[in-house]
Amino acid sequence: MSHWMFNCKEVSRRVSESMDHRLPLYQRMLIRMHLLMCKYCTRFRRQLLLMREFSRSPQMAEDFLDPTVVLLPDARERIRQALKSSSA
């Protein structure tokens, strides 16, 4: 691979970085060129984006929870007392 092109390691790092801030134009172009040729880096990028998607999914917090599960009265009272004594 030519020296002016990013290798997979550099692309993987910059793909991650691009999820946190806007990269300079020339870097975006080099990444795009690399991704056109490299199925592994394309896969890496897609999987990082997927990880973000399910990390932020409301389903992560809500869907599996059994609504019949509740704090037992003893535990509820213990927590309430702990909060009360901490805020006093």
């Binding site: 290798n7 997979c8 390691k9 550099e10 993987s12 790092r13 991650s16 970085e17 999820m19 946190d20 801030h21 592994y40 880096c41 896969r43 890496f44 999987q47 990082l48 997927l50 990880m51 973000r52 998607e53 399910f54 990390s55 932020r56 999914s57 389903q59 992560m60 917090a61 869907d63 599996f64 929870l65 059994d66 609504p67 599960v69 509740v70 704090l71 037992l72 535990a75 509820r76 213990r78 927590i79 309430r80 702990a82 909060l83 009360k84 901490s86 805020s87 006093a88």
Partner: protein, 226 residues
Amino acid sequence: MTQITEEISSADPNLDPETWVDQYGDYLYRFALARIKDQAVAEDLVQETFLAALQGRKSFNGQSAVKTWLSAILKHKIVDYLRKKNREKAIDDIDTVTQTVEKFFHNNGSWKIPPSEWDDNPSKIYEQHEFMDTFFKCLSELPGRLSKVFMLREMEGLSNKEICNALQVSSTNSWVMLYRARAYLRRCLETFWFNNTKGSRKNNFTFLHLSFSPSLADTSLAKSSK
């Protein structure tokens, strides 16, 4: 009601700690129990979450719902708990993660352990309860600062500036930390979820921390290069 709680509740009725247990206790307990599977521990984590929220309530900016804020605190508590539970075997320093991520590549920067195709339907992955268990366990495999930076950015959606302030790191450092966390977590999920047959996934949970190490990466390398 104490003076402190009066001040808080007068500003925002949802921020009255005395109502938290009734309003959010069951929800947080369900979430903790779903991840931890231990009633007593789940109760303790809920209590710790409320106490941490009480201490940190001044920093709550009100941009998110109180429930979301408390859930975020609980998720950190769960990952901390899982990490402590596996402390003897878990990776406990960032250098080890760095070395592991380095091993994904050859010296010339090409993939040594290329990402494999994830064959689950992406839109359905997080509808599977066991997947979320694997996800949290993989998160707990990361050193504390790396799991924290990942959770702040990817789960809570904080900006880079907010993360730099929270962790007292430079932007460059936060990007490097996020890269290592994402690369490691991606590989962990691949190893213990996507590359496993559904029947064996459950069993793998118990030795997750034992298996996902640089030596495992080497083993996978041998497989992938065949």
